[in-house]
């Protein structure tokens, strides 16, 4: 958005977005066979990188996930594992 007179620019179409995925050292990987779709990972994800899908399941997205590991620590079924980025899955 262009500069305005006086002061104050900005509207919501121009979000300030950091590439927080680049911070990630460990990547959360979900084992769908263990997942019971309880949604705990989604509720506790501080980045809201885990989203609900149309079929009532949950999906980890990696565009902004910082790799904090909360989802893995909180999953009651231990269905999420933190895997070193760049390493073999």
């Amino acid at each position: 958005m262009a500069e305005r007179a006086y002061i104050t620019p900005i509207a919501d179409e121009d979000l300030y977005v950091l590439d927080t995925a680049s911070w990630r050292v460990y990547r959360p990987v979900m084992d769908k066979s263990k997942c019971v779709e309880c949604g705990m990972c989604m509720t506790y994800c501080p980045v809201r990188a885990i989203i609900g899908t149309d079929d009532k399941k949950y999906k980890i997205t990696y565009d902004y996930c910082k790799g904090c590991g909360i989802c893995a620590a909180e999953c009651p079924r231990k269905a999420i594992e933190m895997v070193l980025e760049g390493g073999a899955e």
């Binding site: 958005m1 500069e3 620019p9 900005i10 509207a11 919501d12 121009d14 979000l15 300030y16 977005v17 950091l18 590439d19 927080t20 995925a21 911070w23 309880c38 949604g39 989604m42 509720t43 506790y44 994800c45 501080p46 980045v47 809201r48 990188a49 989203i51 609900g52 565009d63 902004y64 910082k66 790799g67 904090c68 590991g69 909360i70 893995a72 620590a73 909180e74 933190m82």
Partner: protein, 302 residues
């Protein structure tokens, strides 16, 4: 709608890439509150971690999808008094006036304006994410910092070992202001938290609503980033951070812990507590027990 469905369905109002630390409790609180508050909200985020994380934006870009401003560290509640009153005046009572502020802006230098707005029962939802210190400036002590904590201004010296005083218990003080709604919440107890945000927003249509939310800080407190919820859960289980609310029916303890975890166990694994002496641990335990007994008395338990 269950709280999980609420969080599933509601749009995230914060920039997807915010520079809060990995595993930040404050980021989780901010996103959750705004998901529930929704688009029809004017947001204030004073200087502190959540402003520092970019929620108010930078240069020509905003950090959220709703109107937002950064109040002064000490005037959130009075600035939003003006905003809220103008919206009431325009007949736009539907607009939510929401503040998400840290403990410095709430309990310390912002306390006067907060107290004033609460006493006037201004139509505002004020959410304090309490990470027990000035984390954004490098973790200095605040009045809500737990006794014995190592902070940048209460270091572990050979003469003085961490913070000398007990924390100021802000939610109970606020609850005595004749406001509409007052509650504590923890990200570990999401159902309770979500319901309290909903209740707080509804209350803010009638008067002042205050939510005091426990906000663990991996960077400042010193624990692994994946332990955020675990630390919050232990705070609730040890009565370090009891969950209660006060509404038109009086005080209510929302989660009664049968056999509270000893404080000695709560402080384990958090490096700001690493050098606590037995005496300090006993003192915190005593404070926690006394405070809980007071809450029980207020909630009408014999």
């Amino acid at each position: 709608m269950s709280y999980i469905d609420v969080l599933r369905e509601a749009e995230d109002q914060v920039t997807p890439g915010a520079s809060a630390c990995q595993g930040c409790g404050g980021e989780l609180i901010l996103r959750t509150v705004l998901q529930i508050a929704g688009k029809n909200t004017i947001l204030g985020v004073p200087p502190g971690c959540m402003a520092g994380a970019g929620s108010v934006g930078w240069n020509f870009n905003s950090g959220v999808r709703i109107p937002v401003t950064i109040p002064l560290l000490d005037n959130c509640a009075s600035l939003f008094t003006g905003i809220s009153q103008m919206y009431q005046r325009k007949g736009r009572e539907d607009v939510n006036a929401v503040i998400v502020a840290g403990d410095g802006a709430t309990a310390d230098c912002g306390f006067q304006s907060l107290s004033g707005a609460a006493e006037r029962n201004e139509k505002i939802l004020y959410v304090c994410y309490d990470n027990e210190g000035y984390m954004n400036t490098g973790y200095q002590r605040s009045s809500t910092t737990t006794k014995g904590s190592r902070t940048s201004t209460t270091p572990l010296g050979s003469v003085i070992n961490g913070k000398v005083q007990h924390q100021k218990y802000v939610p109970l003080i606020l609850s005595m202001h004749g406001l509409e709604y007052c509650a504590t919440a923890s990200p570990s107890d999401m159902k309770d938290f979500v319901e309290k945000v909903q209740k707080g927003l509804a209350a803010s249509k009638k008067g002042f609503a205050y939510l005091h939310v426990f906000s663990p800080c991996p960077t400042g407190w010193g624990y692994a980033s994946d332990q955020c919820i675990a630390v919050a859960r232990k705070a609730v289980k040890s009565n370090m951070f009891p969950l209660w609310e006060k509404d038109e029916n009086g005080y209510k303890i929302n989660k009664v812990i049968k056999d509270p975890m000893p404080i000695r166990e709560f402080v384990q694994g958090i490096s700001k507590f690493k050098k606590l002496t037995d005496e300090q641990i006993d003192s915190i335990q005593q404070m926690v027990d006394t405070r809980y007994a007071e809450l029980e008395r207020l909630a009408g338990k014999e």
